[in-house]
Amino acid sequence: MKKTLFLISNLLIITFLLCGCTNDMSRKEIDEVNLIRVLAIDYDQNEYVLTSLFSPSGGADPESGEASEETTKGFGKTPYEAYEDLKAKAKKAVSLGHTGYFLIGDAAAENGIDICFDFISRDETVKMDALFYITKDSNALDFIEKGIENKQKIHEDLEAIKQKQEEFVTRNDNTLVNLLNEMKQTYSSVLIPYLIPDESSFLTPGYAVFDQMKLRDYLDEETSAGVNFIKNIIRNYPIYLEDQVGLLVSHSNTKLDSKLDNENIVITIKVDYETMIKEVNTPDSIFTGDRIQELTKKQNQFLYEVINLAVNYSKATGLDIFQIARMVEKQNMKEWRNLESNWVEIISDIEYQYKFNSRITKSFILG
């Protein structure tokens, strides 16, 4: 009797504890669902256009052996309305559970990314590590259609972009969870990588900069690299010196430190990094103590210029693209209360100091 009571009470506890899970109890066979691989969000003529791109569940065409990607569009005054329209128009039920990439068109980004993110972040099936990109100077739909015209596999090309990003940076900051987190920082700018079409693939030269959730600008490749150095996410970065020597940053560690001096903020950027010699096209020997020292100075100067591009951009535009506000708040909690209200003005007056500590380590000459 005791055991029966124990079992019944257990079952009741389980039912109460897990009752939240029943919200997602809609039974749907996997072959009755179209799994959206890429979702494009555009804003055109005062309405949002959502384009879903999915691999057909029937698999490859038996004659050509290729699985063509299919698209479905939805229109609405808000992204969610457009998504519902898309669901209604799709042949089968659709799911965001497998959407690995979200492309946001230029116009939609200008209209505000928070509007685009809202319905996505409320979908309980969406992957938190889904990646977001902005399509530069173009609608995301046009971007996809051109890709399909060029017989590109869009999601495979985006996968390649992701892998390429991972080759150069230690983490992808354009995931849903990270961007949602960044959007919470009221005083900081959100950065999302932008895409441009290449011959038969895509490229991500740099970041799209957002001011108050609206697209403000596109950073060039070097400025974006400077941002990456300051964000301390550099895995590899090539350095080309004028004297025909090519180097590769193989390890980098950046530390930011803030000091407050009568409302003047001094940010010290300390970069420790190691480089490998990758190319030497000069007849002079570079493997002497003096030459190595000279090259070290030059590579520090090179990196200074790269980082300074990003710093100058921040100062010129008054955009906190390095999330300085968060750091200052953490390091100077009391003073932050006074700074908070004038932060937009203060950001342009921040003084940056640089410290470079670098080593040229390996030459990899065989034999």
Binding site: N10, I14, T22, D24, M25, L35, S55, S57
Partner: protein
């Protein structure tokens, strides 16, 4: 019938049984008649002739004997060339001795009998264990004869503390049962409880292992085995030295070990024959296989029917493509194939070995392949069910494997009804059930649920033998030191 020992009563009792032999013997032609009773085929007649009858008929000294008492004294004091001779005054005991194959010399006037153990019967020779074979290790296994089995244990533990208690159960079968334990290690409360359980058996016949298993287990409703059995004497001796109790039943070619915990059922003799890292790795694989066999079909159903976002996109697409044109739902596919798998196993057990191979090919390859080609089941489901099935056979204990097979069905049904919610509920119920089981005062999930870390050295991982310094406190309250 009045229960007095005499030849008339015995003849009356056995007069319809053709296999009971009885013979009158004129002691050394003195005119003093005694009766011999025994079961034909169970007695070694040559031994009976040489050790008992010959001295009784040919010894000249006996010619002057006048009373039965004198004959009895003569035989007990060395007249019979036989080591085992006891005097019996209880009629029921006499019947039991006779029916177990011993020779009884009945003295009518004295109303007593002398019993001589001249038993012999055809028995299987000791062979390799069929279910627990090892590459590196002993190759002997128990047989159907209780005494041979206790000898196999005694050979391994030559300690004066090894106790082999002789018990008896079955109102009609009078099956011999030996309770084996080390008196200086085993918890006597446990021994007493097991002895009581056996003595309280109120059953006619112990014909199959389940008869005794069900009486020795506390929670009879659980499908998980709460009594461990083994064919291997080395395994029994290892468990005896750990403080457990062995039950040897005549007629059953394996030995039961109590108390039994779940981790014991996941251990294989190979674990100790190999290097401890290899042994641990194999054991981890076994645990992974157990999880796979229970949850893989359920996970597939839940993921493909309810929460497909749990699957990586490429796998989801692959499953989608495989399921195209298959008319059944994932749950029907999996459950149907699981039932087909069970049918194949059952058929394989009943069929003769020669036909079995052909049936495996027919069932596994031809039917499976054809079912996939005919779009009755998707290839992914075949892989899932086959993987779950094979994983189930990795488990060393067949009883545990059977219990898990049933659990697999329950989990699959729960997943079909409520997806991961159902699976989670099932998992919680399963864990609650396993944790609620108790076996002779020791938790079934022990030592996983034990606080004492020294007990964890032979569970998920097999530590080097030198670290097995203490016996489990739950099993052995005292004398816990195994080695220093």
């Amino acid at each position: 019938m009045e229960k007095i020992i005499n030849s008339t009563n015995l003849k009356a009792l056995f007069h319809k049984s053709g296999d009971i032999v009885q013979r009158q013997l004129n002691v050394a032609h003195s005119g003093l008649i005694i009766h011999i009773f025994g079961v034909d085929g169970l007695m070694n007649t040559m031994m009976l002739d040489e050790t008992i009858l010959q001295p009784l008929t040919e010894n000249e000294e006996l010619k002057n004997i006048k009373t039965e008492k004198e004959v009895m004294n003569y035989l007990l004091e060395g007249g019979a060339y036989h080591a085992f001779a006891i005097e019996v005054t209880d009629f029921d005991l006499l019947i039991r001795y006779i029916l177990s194959g011993m020779a009884a010399l009945v003295f009518d006037q004295e109303q007593k009998a002398l019993i001589f153990d001249v038993r012999t019967f055809d028995k299987r020779s000791i062979s390799e264990p069929s279910d627990e074979g090892v590459m590196k290790g002993a190759k002997d296994s128990f047989i159907e004869v209780m005494r041979t089995n206790t000898v196999l244990i005694r050979r391994r533990i030559r300690s004066e503390y090894l106790v082999v208690e002789q018990l008896n159960a079955g109102k009609l079968s009078k099956t011999d049962i030996a309770l084996v334990y080390l008196s200086n290690i085993a918890d006597m409360d446990t021994v007493n409880r097991i002895r009581d359980s056996i003595n309280n058996l109120d059953i006619d016949n112990i014909s199959t292992p389940a008869f005794i298993e069900e009486y020795l287990t506390d929670n009879k409703k659980s499908i998980f085995p709460q009594i461990m059995y083994t064919q291997r004497p080395d395994r029994v001796s290892a468990n005896l030295t750990d403080g457990r109790v062995a039950v040897v039943v005549d007629g059953i070619p394996f030995v039961y070990i109590l108390p039994c915990q779940l981790p014991m059922l996941m251990q294989s003799p190979e674990d100790y024959a190999n290097h401890y890292i290899i042994g641990s790795s194999l054991r981890v694989i076994r645990y992974i296989a157990m999880i796979l066999t229970i949850f893989l079909p359920a996970f597939y159903i839940a993921a493909t029917t309810f929460q497909n976002q749990m699957l990586p996109p490429e796998i989801a697409l692959s499953i989608q493509q495989a399921k195209q044109d298959v008319p059944f739902s994932s749950a029907s596919e999996v459950l149907g194939l699981l039932i087909a798998f069970e049918i194949l196993i059952e058929a394989g057990l009943r069929l003769p070995k020669t036909v079995g191979t052909a049936m495996s090919i027919l069932g596994g390859l031809v039917v499976g392949q054809s079912a996939v080609e005919a779009k009755i089941v998707s290839p992914t489901v075949v892989v899932i069910v086959a993987l779950a099935g094979i994983a189930g056979f990795i488990l060393p204990s067949q009883d545990l494997s059977s219990g898990i097979r049933v659990t697999r069905f329950v989990m699959a049904i729960l997943a079909a009804v409520a997806g991961f919610f159902g699976m989670t509920a099932g998992l919680i119920i399963l864990i609650t059930h396993l944790c609620s089981l108790d076996n002779y005062g020791v938790a079934y999930m022990s030592p996983f649920v034990d606080v004492e870390t020294s007990n964890h050295k032979d569970t998920l991982f097999r530590f080097p033998i030198k670290y097995f310094t203490k016996r489990s406190k739950k099993i052995v309250p005292e004398n816990r030191v195994k080695q220093k």
